[in-house]
């Protein structure tokens, strides 16, 4: 049994007395791609920063790649951290940025590492372009190049695909999976459901608290939701009718269909049957999506806050 790549427990981080990360415990096995999800301001970036030594936790302890969280200098050498905001030098070219990073990781010879990384990520043609003049997708690719160049054992990626087109996103994920097969561990935060589904396991954080973690199936099970899909010309009427009815937690439009989600399966079934009766729409049970689950978690989180 190998040691987990990330094993932290009870992490607490406060800013000016406001608890932003609230007793977060997380385990990520080696070679695993772990998704990190949660609404804006829920504490994803802060948790990742604590893990890579950029912030000190107020409480809690843990190990990253077998090193105690306090041994920052050891952790830094073996991880690659891609920040949410582009944080390489805009007034340096792609190649100069990579050479700088290679120098700081003590890679030798710098130029051959830079050349290989450029080729690896398809950046060679743009090597002399200033980073500041790159489009979002290329910036993200450069940032990824900079954090994988030194062959880290763990990648911490903070919303790496925000604002990137679908094709580039798919390529990015193919790249991540390829590396994970070779033993790299990845913790990646995202707001995209399709990306969450590409992770081996996901962790969902809300208001600083980790509310669910496990495989997609585990998380769906934890949410304990039942979903019905309604179809037909009168779905808008059905939506109005269903809102606030017993067993109905969420009513969402998807094009011409209506997703009705609830925790109490029996009550939901009765309410849906009533609506079908009244408006003449077609209703049938469907699989709950992650998005439904997350929206449910978010609503729960708000309840907790009040």
């Amino acid at each position: 049994m190998t040691e987990p790549a990330i094993d932290v427990s009870g992490l607490v981080k406060r800013f000016d007395g406001r608890t932003v990360v609230d007793h977060v415990s997380m385990r990520v096995e080696q070679g695993e791609i772990a998704g990190f999800l949660g609404p804006n301001g829920s504490g994803k970036t802060t948790t990742i920063r604590v893990m890579c030594g950029l912030l000190t936790a107020d409480e809690g302890h843990g190990r990253v790649l077998g090193h105690d969280l306090r041994k920052r200098h050891l952790i830094k050498r073996e991880i690659g951290y891609m920040t949410q905001r582009f944080s390489l030098y805009e007034d340096l070219t792609i190649a100069e940025n990579l050479a700088f990073v290679a120098g700081l990781y003590g890679l030798n010879p710098v130029q051959s590492f830079v050349r290989d990384t450029l080729a690896d990520l398809g950046l060679t043609a743009r090597r002399d372009q200033l980073a500041g003049t790159l489009s979002g997708g290329w910036k993200q690719r450069l940032a990824l190049a900079a954090c994988v160049m030194h062959n880290p054992r763990l990648l911490l990626l903070d919303e790496p695909t925000a604002g990137v087109d679908p094709k580039a996103r798919r390529e990015f994920w193919d790249e991540i999976h390829l590396r994970a097969e070779n033993g790299l561990t990845v913790l990646v935060s995202t707001h995209y459901m399709d990306e969450a589904e590409r992770c081996h396991r996901i962790n969902y954080i809300s208001y600083g608290r980790l509310v669910a973690s496990g495989t997609v199936a585990d998380v769906l099970a934890k949410a304990g939701l039942t979903t019905w899909v309604l179809e037909g010309p009168n779905t808008p009427d059905a939506a109005k009718l269903l809102a606030g009815k017993p067993g109905v937690d969420e009513v969402t439009h998807f094009g011409t269909t209506l997703h009705v989600v609830g925790r109490d399966a029996a009550a939901l079934k009765r309410s849906v049957a009533d609506a079908v009766q009244a408006t003449g729409v077609q209703g049938q049970p469907a699989d709950t999506t992650l998005e439904d689950a997350f929206i449910r978690f978010m609503a729960d989180g708000q309840d907790n806050m009040q």
Partner: protein, 378 residues
């Protein structure tokens, strides 16, 4: 790779810093253009030996001796007698208001004393609030006046040397007895210019990274506080070296500032001074949260250092408490050192205290910077 220090990491930091400097045209221009511009501007303003300065004449008896002296003084080009035959009180008011720069007083018994063979007295009061301006006029004065007088008395100028003691010229440099000269100021200007550019630029070293968001990436990589400090500070030492060459070269070429001391010793002193400045700037950047704050702190430091270092006003003329504050500024020690070496030819033994003080500043600023450096984003 050592945990604490690696020359490879330092080299990477330097390269990056130099590339950024090169790309930032405005800053680059400022680093070389501003020193030169300031030197030329101030240097000429100070070096120009201003002539045709307004003067008042207090002469109760207008005899031919008086006229001879007045016309001789006017011939030098320095004096322009706008106010002739005024009373002593009027003259006092004129100089106080700054309407005239000089008051020449020829006593009523002047002619009488000359004829008797006594030593006549001539009083010249100079408004020395701007001493560099008045100094040229004053320095020619004694000779001109007595030559004129001797000529008037019919003594040939060969004999003038011996007879000079005949005239007793009393000069009162008023308001600023120390009388700073241009040579005093041009070397000082080097110190002020270096301080201005070096502190200003390094004070933004870290805040710029923070504001651009690059600090997060930098701190996530295995680089130490000392490496970041040296990586930031030493490239500016190089810039400082270029500035020194530009300013010293211009001082020599344009202003012909005398250079009696050992150049090697001078450069060594300048090096330590610049090192203390870049570390001071860097310390400022470790405590400021934004470039605006860094700028404010820098200016907060500038004015006192220019006023209290002995650049603008004579150091020993200040009250003791102000002198103590002055001692806390690297510029004060540098000014003493550079004036001693450049103008008086002082050797290592003579500038030892200044050198020690500057080295102490280097150590203190480096320690402050290391202690205040934030290794995390907290």
């Amino acid at each position: 790779m050592s945990r604490y220090f690696s020359i490879r990491r330092l080299t990477a930091l330097w390269k990056k810093e130099f590339i950024q400097m090169r790309r930032d045209r405005v800053t680059f221009a400022m680093m070389l253009g501003v020193p030169l511009m300031q030197l030329i501007l101030f240097g000429f303003a100070i070096n120009n030996d201003p002539k045709n300065l307004p003067a008042a004449l207090v002469a109760p008896t207008q005899d031919h001796y008086t006229r001879a002296i007045v016309s001789a003084l006017e011939l030098t080009g320095y004096y322009r007698f706008d106010h002739v035959a005024v009373s002593a009180t009027e003259a006092e008011a004129l100089i106080e208001r700054g309407t005239v720069a000089f008051v020449v007083t020829i006593p009523s018994d002047f002619g009488l004393r000359v004829d008797r063979g006594d030593r006549p007295t001539l009083l010249i009061e100079a408004d020395a609030t701007d001493p560099a301006v008045a100094s040229g006029a004053i320095s020619t004065l004694g000779t001109v006046a007595s030559d004129a007088l001797l000529h008037e008395m019919g003594i040939a100028s060969q004999a003038a040397e011996t007879a000079r003691s005949h005239l007793n010229v009393i000069v009162h440099r008023r308001y600023n007895p120390e009388g700073i000269t241009q040579y005093n100021i041009v070397p000082g200007l080097l110190g002020v210019i270096l301080q201005m550019t070096m502190v200003m630029m390094t004070s933004m070293a870290l805040t710029r990274e923070t504001e651009r968001g690059t600090m997060e990436n930098l701190l996530a990589m295995p680089v130490t506080a000392a490496e970041i400090m040296l990586g930031k500070v030493l490239p500016y030492l190089g810039v400082g070296a270029v500035q020194v060459i530009v300013v010293l070269g211009a001082a020599k070429l344009l202003f012909n500032v005398p250079f009696v001391g050992d150049l090697g010793l001078l450069l060594l002193g300048v090096l330590v001074f610049v090192l203390s400045l870049v570390l001071l700037g860097y310390s400022i950047s470790t405590v400021s949260r934004s470039q605006m704050q860094a700028m404010q702190l820098t200016f907060f430091f500038f004015l006192p250092s220019i006023m209290l270092s002995g650049f603008m006003f004579p150091f020993r003329g200040m009250p003791v408490w102000a002198q103590w504050i002055g001692e806390l500024m690297p510029l004060t020690h540098f000014l003493r050192m550079i004036r001693a070496v450049m103008l008086k030819g002082a050797g290592p033994a003579n500038i030892h205290p200044q050198m020690t003080a500057l080295i102490v500043f280097v150590i203190i600023f480096a320690l402050i910077a290391l202690a205040r450096f934030r290794r995390t984003l907290d």
